[in-house]
């Protein structure tokens, strides 16, 4: 008879199809969830900088304090990228009369050419931003650094990085996590820039102590970050 009925074998594949459908759906969901999460999109971002400045060398080997360059971090929202002049303190090249400052380091290194050029032309260095928050997020460095939140908490062991890389997702959920339970990321403020600092004793207790001393109760109000 000329009518369409499902053939016998259809029954057998129905369950298979069903199973496949389910698995497929889960797979897609998983991919989306994972693919869209900041963990995937942001962490590991490592842009090429105009000159190969090594934090590993300066902050790590030479033990320069973070605040030598990022000197506004304790008073301002921005941890200002140092002006060319700061680099020149050590790396000044030959002056007008070709005289090179005796204490100057690598005064002729080609790698440092961009710095010297910037000085000569008065054009800014064009550094590339690594840690970037959406523009409607108002993060304030001083508010964290002055309260015993170390650079490490958000930037990781920069003193070990040849090229700076983003190691934390910097997502809203991630921020909230710490605002709700700051203890693990708290340390006595004098150590905030000591990236290799380790708490003597249970870090949680240390954090608890700091929190009490500074009377810290991080707010999770929207206007804390969004204005």
């Amino acid at each position: 008879m000329d009518r369409f009925l499902f053939p016998k074998w259809a029954n057998s594949i129905i369950s298979v199809l069903g199973a496949l459908g389910g698995v497929g759906a889960l797979y897609v969901l998983g991919m989306v969830a994972f693919g869209a999460s900041p963990e995937t999109t942001d962490v590991g971002y490592q842009p090429e900088q105009p000159l190969p400045f090594s934090h590993a060398l300066h902050a790590g080997k030479l033990k320069l304090d973070c605040r030598y360059c990022h000197n506004t971090v304790e008073v301002a929202g921005h941890a200002a990228i140092p002006p060319t002049a700061t680099c020149l303190n050590c790396h000044s090249g030959a002056d007008a009369n070709g005289v090179v400052n005796t204490v100057s380091v690598h005064s002729t290194s080609t790698k440092l050419a961009p710095i010297r050029e910037s000085q000569a032309t008065g054009k800014s260095m064009q550094w590339r931003r690594v840690h970037d928050l959406p523009d409607y997020v108002y993060f304030n460095h001083s508010a964290h650094v002055r309260r015993g939140v170390s650079c490490v908490a958000c930037h990781g062991r920069v003193d070990k990085m040849e090229t700076v890389t983003q190691v934390k997702p910097l997502s809203m959920g991630w921020c909230l996590e710490c605002h709700r339970h700051p203890e693990p990321n708290l340390r006595p403020p004098e150590f905030v820039t000591k990236l290799d600092w380790v708490a003597d004793g249970d870090p949680h207790e240390v954090g608890e102590k700091v929190r009490k001393e500074l009377n810290l109760n991080p707010s999770t109000n929207c206007s804390t970050c969004h204005r």
Partner: protein, 465 residues
């Protein structure tokens, strides 16, 4: 026409001790099947193409406008301060309301064993689905940043943010989507045996396959029938409460706010009554012409129409009562803002809208007390059209009038719709009609299987109960 001619009987007269047949004419199962399937099988009349052409182009316009809206911003509508919700919400509530008749007829009347429902339930359910689709269009495009609409759903995200479960709008999202899903299932479930019939009669390869696919291998075995009826009963039981819940929750959008004219406890029952009222009116507006064009008067008899007009009188009167009660409470409550909200409705700048609403919704259905009108299809049709208009205005009055004048006189305003507003409403009708026409053409408009169940058995008296 396929039915065998027999002496006509007036189905609108109750003869004591004798059950008025729900199918007139000397129909047997075969002829019923013929009558219904004819539509899907015979050559499509040009009229159908013309009608589809018109409504499809209107639908196209709607989608065009939606595109324009999303690119430009909701400012293309007449919405303004203080009338932040304008026509789109009016249209939404209007369509959701329409979408009530179907499930009511199929679920509640089914549970109450109202056999006469069999003639109309299929079309009514179809209409419900289409109305809900139209309704669904508006809240979606109504928000300022459509591309973020998914934030309304509780999806885990990196912001660690949930939607605000205190907000009636959120309840709405769930209520309407649930309703849409269940109605769709219910409608499709009920159609399976008839799809099988179409499949069996189909000649073209494509039809055979398409109908075959959707009738899910139905073969009419008593096992199938048994399961089918059980499932149908269960779905009916599931759908019944939804009929009440959807519009109750839609009414919460207004009732839970504190705007004078919105903030009233009477809203849920009032909205549900209104919804059923408008739903039935819409079914009649569609079916009266449809049954003539499709020549199924025998299956969809005057009695069916009359029964529905009775429902309309009932619900219409409830609505009228609600209007009156609102005023009473406003006065009795002694709240100056509440009182003014209602005085302003009846005598303020929007009085015209209010009186259109009252005359269409309260006065016109009362005409159905007259049997002549109740039993004359064209008269019913006219009244029902008025009811539809009235119900649209009811939503307009509630939404716009209340908003235009709230607490601080400094912010009072007067809402004027833009051309976009108007065209979008027309467009939504285009969408609705397009879907309905497609339905008439390709799907069984009357639930053959169910109709047969209320027909006298061949060679015996009908003895079902």
């Amino acid at each position: 026409m396929a039915s065998v001619t027999a002496e006509p009987i007036d189905t609108t007269i109750e003869v004591p001790g004798k059950r008025t047949p729900l199918v007139t004419g000397a129909h047997d199962y075969g002829t019923v099947t013929d009558a219904v399937c004819r539509l899907a099988e015979c050559k499509t009349p040009t009229a159908w193409y013309v009608a589809l052409g018109i409504s499809a182009s209107l639908m196209g316009m709607l989608f065009g406008l939606i595109g324009y809206l999303i690119i430009t911003g909701v400012g293309v509508w007449g919405n303004r301060s203080p009338v932040f919700w304008g026509w789109p919400i009016v249209n939404f509530v209007f369509w959701v309301g329409i979408g009530h008749a179907g499930t009511l007829i199929s679920a509640i009347l089914f549970l109450f064993r109202q056999d006469w429902r069999t003639g109309i339930n299929r079309a009514a359910e179809a209409m419900t689905i289409f109305a809900v689709i139209c309704a669904g269009v508006f809240p979606g495009i109504h928000i300022g940043r459509v591309w973020l609409a998914y934030w309304l759903f509780p999806i885990p995200n990196q912001m660690a943010m949930w939607p605000n479960f205190r907000s009636p709008l959120l309840w709405d999202v769930f209520a309407v989507s649930t309703y849409a899903t269940v109605s769709l299932l219910f409608w499709y479930m009920g159609m399976i045996p008839d799809l099988a019939t179409l499949r069996d009669r189909a000649t073209g390869k494509i039809q055979q396959f398409a109908y075959g696919l959707f009738s899910l291998g139905w073969n009419g075995s008593s096992r199938h029938w048994h399961r089918y009826e059980r499932a149908y009963l269960l779905l009916a039981a599931l759908a019944a409460p939804l009929v009440l819940s959807v519009h109750t929750i839609v009414s919460f959008d207004f009732a839970v706010s504190q705007l004078p004219g919105w903030h009233t406890t009477i809203f849920p029952p009032y909205f549900v009554a209104g919804a059923v009222f408008s739903g039935f009116a819409m079914v009649l507006t569609l079916m009266i012409p449809a049954r003539k064009i499709c020549g199924i008067e025998d299956l969809l008899t005057d009695r069916h129409l009359e029964n529905m007009t009775k429902v309309i009188i009932a619900t219409g009167t409830m609505v009228g009562y609600a209007y009156a009660m609102e005023f009473f409470i406003a006065w009795y409550g002694g709240n100056r803002y509440e009182t003014f909200a209602f005085i302003n409705r009846a005598f303020g700048p929007y009085a015209w809208a209010y009186w259109i609403m009252v005359s269409c919704n309260v006065i016109s259905p009362q005409l159905f007390w007259i049997k002549k009108i109740r039993t004359t299809p064209w008269m019913i049709f006219v009244v029902c059209v008025f009811v539809n208009i009235g119900m649209w205005f009811e939503r307009f009055v509630i939404t716009v009038t209340s908003l235009s004048r709230d607490f601080l006189p400094s912010s009072w305003g007067y809402f004027r719709p833009t051309i976009i507003d108007v065209l979008m409403l027309i467009g939504s009708f285009g969408l609705f009609m397009t879907l309905f026409l497609l339905f008439c053409k390709f799907l069984p408009m009357v639930a053959m299987a169910e109709v047969k169940s209320v027909m006298p058995r061949p060679g015996g008296q009908s003895d079902h109960h």
